[in-house]
Amino acid sequence: MYALCNKHCTGKCVRPSYSLSQSLPMSHFILQRTFIMVLTMLVLSFVVFYLGNLEPNLRKLALEQNNNRMSQADVDSWLEKNGYRRSFIVRYGEWTAGVLSGDFGYSTRFRMPVNEALPKRLGYTGILAFWVLMTMVPSALLIGILSGMREGSALDRFLSLFSVTTTATPEYVSGILFTVIFASLLGWFKGVANVKDITFENFTLPVMTMSIYGMGYIARMTRASMSEVMTSQYIRTAHLKGLPFKTVVLKHALRNALIAPFTVILLQFPWLLTGVVIVEKLFNYKGFGWTLVEAAENNDVDMLLACSLVSVLVVIGTQLISDVGYAYLNPRIRVES
C-alpha cells in the first residue's frame, strides 16, 4: 500500500520518504523509526482485531468452524464456549500479551498455532521473492540505463513504451495473459505452481508475472536518474576529454545514476507484497499471500493479525533501510553524528 504512492508519484520521486537533513544522530533516527513502527503495529492490530470481531464476522467464523446450517442459538453458545463473548478489550490485551511473549495465537483456518503455520509459508514466499528480485532488478536496471543513456533515441522510445505497458498491466491481467500464451497455446510452462515441488516449468510464470509488473517502474526511475546524470557537467567534461562513450557511461555515469534506483528498489518490497497475494492466488502457490487470502476469507483473526504485522514490518523496515542506505550512498546527505 505504501508503494501506491511510491509507484504513482509524480515527478522525481527518487528522494527518500524522510529527509535526513534534520540533524539527528543515526541511532536516534533508527530508534525514532522503530518507535513509529511499534506504534503503527499497535494501532493496526487494534483495527484488524476490532473489524475481525464485529458481530457478522464472528457469526461467519462460527458457521465456518462448525457447519453452515447452525441455528442462531448454537452460534451463540459456540461463541460463548470459545470465549468470543468476553470483553473485547480483555481479549485484545490477551492477544498483545501473547505476541509479546512470542505466541501469535491459534489459526482457525489451518487448525494449528500460527507459529507453526506461518513461518513455513513465509519461507515459500521468500523463495518466490528471491527469484523475482533476481530477475527483476538486473533487467530493470539494464532497461533503465540503456534508455536513459541516449534520451529520445529510438531505443529509448521503445524501452520506455515497454516500461509503461508493464506498469499499466496488473498482475492479474499479465499473469492470465502469460498463462494463455505460454501454458495453453505454447505449452512451455505450467499455469499452476507447487510449493513442494518447484521446477522451472511451474515456477517461471509466477516469477515472470511479478517481475515484469515491478520492472517497469524501477526502469523508469533508473532512466530518469540516468538521463539526469547524462546531462550533468562532469559527463560533458568526460565527453570533451575525448573518452569513448562506453567509458563515460560505465565509469562516470553509472555510479551516480544508481543511487536513486537503490531507494526505489527497496521501496518496491511493499509493492511485491501486494503482488505476492495476487500471484499466489492466481497460480495457487501456497505461500504467505495465499495464507493471507485464506485467513481473510475465513475470518481467521489471529492469522490475519500475524500477516498484517509481517506486512507492516516489511513496509516500514524497507523504508528504514532505504533511508539509511541512501544516506550512506549519497555523499550529499550526511547524517551528523
Binding site: 473489524l51 509503461v164 492470465i176 494463455v180 495453453s184 497455446l185 487470502v293
Partner: protein, 383 residues
C-alpha cells in the same frame, strides 16, 4: 452453429463502435480548433504519446456513454445453448454474432466488456476526485503550517499506507461490514470533504464581500446537502441520486485507500511552493492562511496534481479490478472487468480466448491513462 470469419468479426466490432469513433473524431476536431485556449491539453496534440493516451481514454469514456448502442446483447442475458463458445459464433435466433464468444453462462463477452466500462468509468474518476479533495483539504494545512497538525496527519497517512491493500479490502468490503454502519460512516466522512472544501474556497475568496459569500454558500449547501443525502443515506428527497450499498462500500474503501497518497503529494508540493516569493508577498499583504493555500499555492501545484490524477485513476481501475478478482463487494453477475476476469480465468484450458476481452480492456484503459499522464508531464515540463 455458424461462425463468422475473422474479417467479418473485426469488421463487425469496428462498425458496432461507430458512435465512439464519431465522438472521438468530433472531440479531436474540437480540440484542434480550440487548442490555444486549452492550455496544456492543447499542447497534448503535439505529443504522440499524449494524444495516443488521450484517444484510448476517450475511447473507453465514449464506450461507457454509448454502451447501450454499442453492445449487441444485454450484459446479463444468458444463452444456454451457447456456453463457453469461441469468438465469432452466431446466435441463431437473432442472427447476431457473439463477437468475442461467450462465458460459462452463455453471456455475450463483447456486450459484457462494453458494459463493464461503465462501472469503472463511474467509480474510478469519482473516487479519485473525492480522494483528491480529501488529500488537498488535509495536505495543504499539513504542508503549510507543519508542526503538530502535520505530525498527526502524516502519521495517520503513513499508517494507512503501510497497510497491505488486500487486507484493507478484505476487512472493509465484505457482506459482514455492510450489515454494520461502517461504510455509511466512512462515506459520510469522506463526502463531507467536498462540501467543506467548497465552503472554505468561497470563504477565503469572498471574506470581504458578504454579498457574494452568502448566496454562494447557500447554493453550495443546498446542492451539497442534496447530493450528500442521496449518496450517503440513499434518501434523496427528489429520488434522483441513489447509490447501491455495494458500490458505496467499494467507493468508500477506494477513497480511503487512495487519499493518503494524495495527501502526501499535496503536502510535499505545498512545502516546496510555500518558500516561493509570491507566497511571501501574499503573507506580507496580510492574506489569510487559507487564502494563500487555496488561491496561491494550489493553482501553482496543479501541473503535478493533474498528472498524478491521471495515474491515480489508472491505479484505482487496477484496485477495482483487484476487488473483482478476489470476488469482493460486487454482485457475482455484475459485468465489471475484474469480476469477469475472476469468473473466466478458470476456463482458460477450455477456451483460451475467454479471458481476453476483459483483461485487454482493463490493461488498455490503464495504459491509456499512463500514456496521457506521460504526455501531460512532458508538455508541462516544456513550459
Amino acid at each position: 452453429m455458424d461462425t463468422v470469419s475473422i474479417w467479418e468479426l473485426w469488421g463487425g466490432v469496428a462498425v458496432r463502435f461507430w458512435p465512439v469513433w464519431l465522438a472521438m473524431l468530433i472531440t479531436y476536431l474540437l480540440m484542434r480548433m480550440y487548442r490555444k485556449r486549452l492550455g496544456v491539453f492543447g499542447h497534448l496534440l503535439d505529443s504522440a504519446v499524449g494524444i495516443t493516451g488521450l484517444m484510448i481514454v476517450l475511447f473507453w469514456l465514449f464506450t461507457a456513454l454509448f454502451a447501450d448502442i454499442v453492445s449487441t446483447f444485454e450484459p446479463l442475458e444468458q444463452f444456454f445453448r451457447y456456453r463457453k463458445k469461441p469468438p465469432g459464433i452466431v446466435e441463431a435466433e437473432s442472427m447476431i454474432p457473439m463477437y468475442f464468444g461467450s462465458d460459462n453462462l452463455g453471456r455475450d463477452l463483447f456486450s459484457r466488456m462494453v458494459h463493464g466500462s461503465r462501472f469503472v468509468l463511474m467509480i474510478a474518476p469519482a473516487a479519485t476526485l473525492v480522494a483528491f479533495v480529501v488529500g488537498i483539504t488535509l495536505g495543504l494545512p499539513a504542508g503549510y503550517k507543519g508542526g503538530r497538525v502535520d505530525a498527526i496527519l502524516s502519521f495517520i497517512a503513513n499508517l494507512i499506507l503501510s497497510f497491505p491493500v488486500i487486507v484493507l479490502f478484505y476487512l472493509l468490503v465484505t457482506p459482514g461490514i455492510r450489515e454494520t454502519a461502517l461504510p455509511n460512516v466512512m462515506a459520510g466522512v469522506f463526502f463531507m470533504f467536498p462540501i467543506i472544501f467548497s465552503l472554505t474556497v468561497l470563504r477565503s475568496r469572498f471574506s470581504e464581500r458578504p454579498g457574494l459569500l452568502f448566496p454562494w454558500s447557500v447554493i453550495i449547501l443546498i446542492l451539497g446537502g442534496w447530493l450528500y443525502s442521496g449518496v450517503v443515506f440513499n434518501s434523496d428527497p427528489l429520488g434522483l441520486i441513489s447509490m447501491d450499498p455495494n458500490e458505496l462500500n467499494i467507493f468508500a474503501a477506494v477513497v480511503f485507500a487512495s487519499s493518503p497518497g494524495v495527501f502526501r503529494i499535496v503536502r510535499g508540493l505545498t512545502m516546496d511552493i510555500k518558500t516561493r516569493d509570491y507566497v511571501a508577498a501574499a503573507q506580507t499583504r496580510g492574506e489569510t492562511p487559507w487564502y494563500i493555500m487555496l488561491w496561491e499555492i494550489l493553482p501553482n501545484a496543479r501541473g503535478p496534481l493533474i498528472v498524478d490524477a491521471c495515474l491515480r485513476i489508472g491505479y484505482t481501475t487496477i484496485l477495482l479490478g483487484t476487488l473483482g478478482f478476489f470476488g469482493l463487494g460486487l454482485a457475482p453477475e455484475s459485468p465489471d472487468w475484474g469480476s469477469m476476469i475472476n469468473q473466466t480465468r478458470g476456463l482458460i484450458r477450455l477456451v483460451p480466448t475467454i479471458v481476453l476481452p476483459q483483461t485487454i480492456a482493463l490493461a488498455s484503459f490503464v495504459l491509456g491513462l499512463n500514456l496521457l499522464a506521460d504526455g501531460l508531464r512532458e508538455e508541462s515540463l516544456k513550459d
